[in-house]
Amino acid sequence: MKQNNKLSIFLRGLIAENPVLVLVLGTCPTLAQTGSVIAALSMGIAATIVLACSNVVISALRKVIPDTVRIPCYIVVIAGFVTAVQLLMHAYLPDLYAMMGVYLALIVVNCIILGRAEMFARKNNMLDSLLDGLGMGVGFLLALLAMATIREVLGAGTFAGIAIPFLVGEGYSYTIPILTQAPGGFLVFGILIAIVNKIGPKKGEKKRKEFSCEGCPSAHLCGKVSCAENTELVITSEPEVQGTPEGKEGEA
């Protein structure tokens, strides 16, 4: 039974609470790093390492870190691990380091990592936190790979740089190049989320509402306005003075 629990902590991140497709966290790297399978793989692995390590450290320090300044503390821990990964990649994988560019440093502000620290690591022991970090990281990696596969195979006719015989060859090329570019990222991501909404876990919508904001470092400041959702921004400091949205009037 106990083993079962541990396993479920790990597996949860893969499908039922997939950070990208169900919770819709970490959209920036998801869109930016999925133009090719190699980029997606390196982004996923780098983020998984940072996520697992920071989860363990934050869990170990959970009784030491004062509650009021916990977010800055988490950011320092996460930024430390990101720097370590940056230095390692720069030393041993210079090509990948150059390819990922600024997005490697931006793992710091990836809301999945801060989200897991806030939602899981500060309430659970180190082993559970490690499993949770690994599960979420692998879920992130799988979602990135799925998107990158779609974009690279249909957009460039290759998989991880290897040409696929039926799509590209001498004198012919059945590809949709725009998919590897920026607009393709938005399009494929939109369609994937639509598919998940249709067939995926039914509680996805509810979970997203509950969790997205927990992960946001500004949640307590913005009054839990769900960023990825269509909720209204609650402006507390001033009353709404604007008129009715012009679109609705026009239609009426």
Binding site: T27, L31, Q86, L87, V109, A182, G184, Q242
Partner: protein, 200 residues
Amino acid sequence: MDFKMLLYILLMGVFVNNYVLNKFLGICPFLGVSKKFNQASGMGIAVIFVMLVATAVTWPIQIYVLDPAGLGFLQTIVFILVIAALVQFVEIVLKKFIPALHKSLGVYLPLITTNCAVLGVAINNITDGYNFIESMFSSLGVGLGFLLAMVLFAGVRSRIENCPSPKAVQGLPITLIAASIVSLAFFGFSGVLENLLGIA
């Protein structure tokens, strides 16, 4: 001072290298706060403001403190902490001395503390080897590009609200697909500026 180069950097940030639509930085506020025109423009202006202040502080820190001390690798940690502290500080100062401005920008400031576009532009300015003036123009351009994308997209979204769409794509998916089309429009700008300003 090469005015043409500054103009090029500025316009590159607004149109060609649009951070939201081309580089995918700052997607969260782009999707979250773009529902109404007023909020979208308020958020955009707050982002321009924070980007300029952040660049004005992080650029000297990198060039005069980290680089001479051989601590360039601490860039990520130092920048994120400086930006976070700075935003809080700016908010306190605005609240105390310019309440009117705080009233209009205040609610958006905490939301952009960890906006990846702000950290991204600070890091990119260093990576691209810009000098201080160029960095400021680059940040201004990126910020204006963000504002433009937000405002344009707010218009698109108010139309989407009134359109019937299949249940599965309602909400986030249709928003992303619309963003894809807006991004496609911006895609057309690539290469235009080089020809316009005669820069190779």
